[in-house]
Subunit: 400 residues, 2 copies
């Protein structure tokens, strides 16, 4: 049985590049950029006024002039009109381009305007104030974004500002989520006393949706021939197969056999962890990867967060996420030689520390708690006693 | 001029309830529940086997029996078949319902099966092991989710497990994002030397999209009559108007006047903060609220995160977010008597502390940095010197 770290390494070695595609910039939120983005002009493109008021030449202040004839009024977007003498000023608005012969902006609050004249009410004036200089942020042709950049709202603003209406982004792998097991009935059905509803697949689908990935959900019955045929079709039509259930040692778990017959090579089976010990991972020679998670909902959930999302991010060319750490807020003990994923609820204290309070659960299937928790705390297999105040990595699954 | 805390209070007092609607459970991710969800059965609904293996009556172990005749094989979803004597066992699979006369499951790894008999290979057997007891998680009719619950993947799993195919969720307010200013051209257009592209509205739209809110983006020219007419239409067709720009003291900022003529009452104008000092907030007698943000992109961005999202969450009935804190990683000084929103990049240290490194920006419009930062650190207006190691609240805008 391999360790969590070995499993992670094998999975990340099997990250793949699924190519790129073009999307509209305002539909690109959450995607990953696959090209360089350059400025088409300086940013700002001109000396940009940052306060409404009047624009003067600072020499006038040095010469003691404090009343100015208003030569023109200039709004943002107007062609600049210049002064002809230093006793003139331009009434000017935020966002306007500063005309050449003026260099200093005095805000309305510090000016009295009457009969076409503006009188200064302050002597605290700095040369060049209240403007954002041409090229201060970026120069024309400068690369401002590079491949692997996650497209956030700020990135959308940046690409819009340089006129990029279409973006080349990484293609998202096609994923199918397969459940199996005759004990599972549809969500809308009434299960008999010995059956349960198919809830796992929809949970996995929602986790993937949070990553911007639309996965197809399918159910296959416990019939060896149908399993093999369905898996075979999925191997042709998807990049990734996520299986939930059907991989333990049970007599009716036909999936490992079907995968073998379909030439999906097993890269590992079983990981030293709880939940999720029976996790199986493999790859077909055509490149399709198969994550076969245990049917226990907590195990499926944990494995998706701990293994699938890092694999997806690596495949999209995102940098690995920085490890998050939290402080265990209560003693906890766990004896088996397994890495334990403890469900925790998080909060910040006023020392800027993230505290993780364990939420007692039943490891083998109580997913009611999941709705109340924020993260898994990763407790190393070498230890069995975990003390309040100790710090361990966490895997966040709800937004803080 | 009011403080940030006063502005926040006024805004939250104007949160409103926009009603509820029905959505399919697997399209409800990110929505807010508007009903109680109860279990339709015990959870688990039966004594559920958690390991593949054999099921026996523990009395047999007490009596020293260690070989059992396999009476039947039972998969998950099968009707239970019971034993007739305590020297019999049922070969049983994960997820199956334990028959009445057996009470203990021994996993395959600890059993040898040959010629229809199962022999125990271990003496470490606990009565009742390897099952998840009926009702251990929840009892039938128990409320498992209440109104105000954010619908996460775990919640989708829960509602699916109790057969709720349709969910009553809070209706999301209808939002229009209006930009104004003749200096702004379309993203696809080539601006003249004095113009810039409309990037702000798309940024705001993307922030709202992250909250599951699809907002309409519109631009209105600097024409008093058109502004008034367009604002009037928006007051009839939306619940919220977000304005970006057009609210400062400029001669061409017709919006405050138009809002006044349209009977939108000003609830405040100007907040002691940077960026975002000119922020204007008002409400029409018909209930429509108007957030008028300054045109500076950083200010629009900050105000949306700091004011609009908490307003939205309150309107949807979500509990207020817990305050996040981080440790300032470098000295920083800011003199004006304004609450300062410092752009920071975050990382966790191995003590479980969140460290915030200031990213030097140009307060008045350099949004190129925003793509590289994770949060605003809220530095109180009473202070001007902020020392490395001090802890302040943060407003996270990128996922950790």
């Amino acid at each position: 049985m391999i360790t969590v770290q070995q499993a992670e390494q094998i999975i990340l070695e099997n990250a793949a590049d699924y190519g790129a595609e073009i999307v509209l910039f305002d539909e690109a939120l959450g995607r990953v950029l696959a090209e360089n983005i350059k400025t088409d002009r300086d940013l700002p493109a001109f000396n940009r006024v940052t306060m409404d008021g009047i624009a003067i030449n600072f020499k006038a202040v040095e010469q003691g002039i404090n009343m100015f004839t208003i030569k023109a009024t200039q709004a943002a977007g107007d062609i600049p009109t210049d002064i002809e003498g230093i006793d003139e000023c331009i009434e000017i608005m935020t966002g306007a381009a500063l005309p050449d012969l003026v260099d200093t902006v005095i805000r309305y609050e510090d000016v009295e305007i009457k009969d076409g004249k503006a009188t200064l009410l302050t002597s605290e004036i700095k040369k060049g104030q209240n403007q954002h200089l041409k090229g201060a942020d970026k120069k024309q042709g400068e690369i401002i974004l590079t491949p692997g950049q996650l497209i956030t709202p700020a990135v959308i603003s940046l690409v819009a500002s340089v006129g990029e209406t279409e973006l080349r982004v990484k293609r998202i792998p096609r994923v199918v989520i397969l459940s199996s097991g005759d004990e599972l009935v549809e969500v809308g059905a009434t299960p008999s006393a010995y059956q349960i509803r198919r809830s796992n697949s929809y949970m996995l689908q929602a986790i993937l949706a949070q990553q911007g990935l639309k996965a197809l959900v399918k159910h296959i019955p416990d019939e060896p021939e149908i399993i093999k045929q369905q898996l075979g079709l999925c191997l042709q039509n998807f990049d990734v197969i996520l299986l939930s259930g059907g991989i333990s040692m049970g007599k009716f778990d036909y999936i490992p056999q079907a995968l073998k017959e379909l030439q999906v090579a097993q890269l590992f089976h079983k990981v030293q962890q709880r939940p999720g010990k029976p996790f199986w991972f493999g790859k077909h020679s055509n490149g399709v990867v198969v994550f076969a998670f245990p049917g226990n909902p907590i195990a499926s959930f944990m494995c998706t967060q701990r293994y699938f999302i890092p694999w997806l991010n690596a495949s999209l060319g995102l940098s690995p996420k920085k490890t998050m750490y939290a402080v265990l807020a209560d003693d906890f003990s766990f004896q088996p030689q397994l890495e334990y994923y403890l469900q925790v609820k998080l909060h910040f204290n006023e020392q800027g520390q993230l505290l993780a309070a364990p939420v007692e659960g039943n490891g083998s299937g109580d997913f009611a708690n999941l709705a109340d928790t924020d993260a898994f705390m990763e407790l190393p297999l070498e230890k069995s006693e975990f003390k309040k105040g100790e710090v361990y990595p966490i895997w966040l699954f709800n937004q803080l």
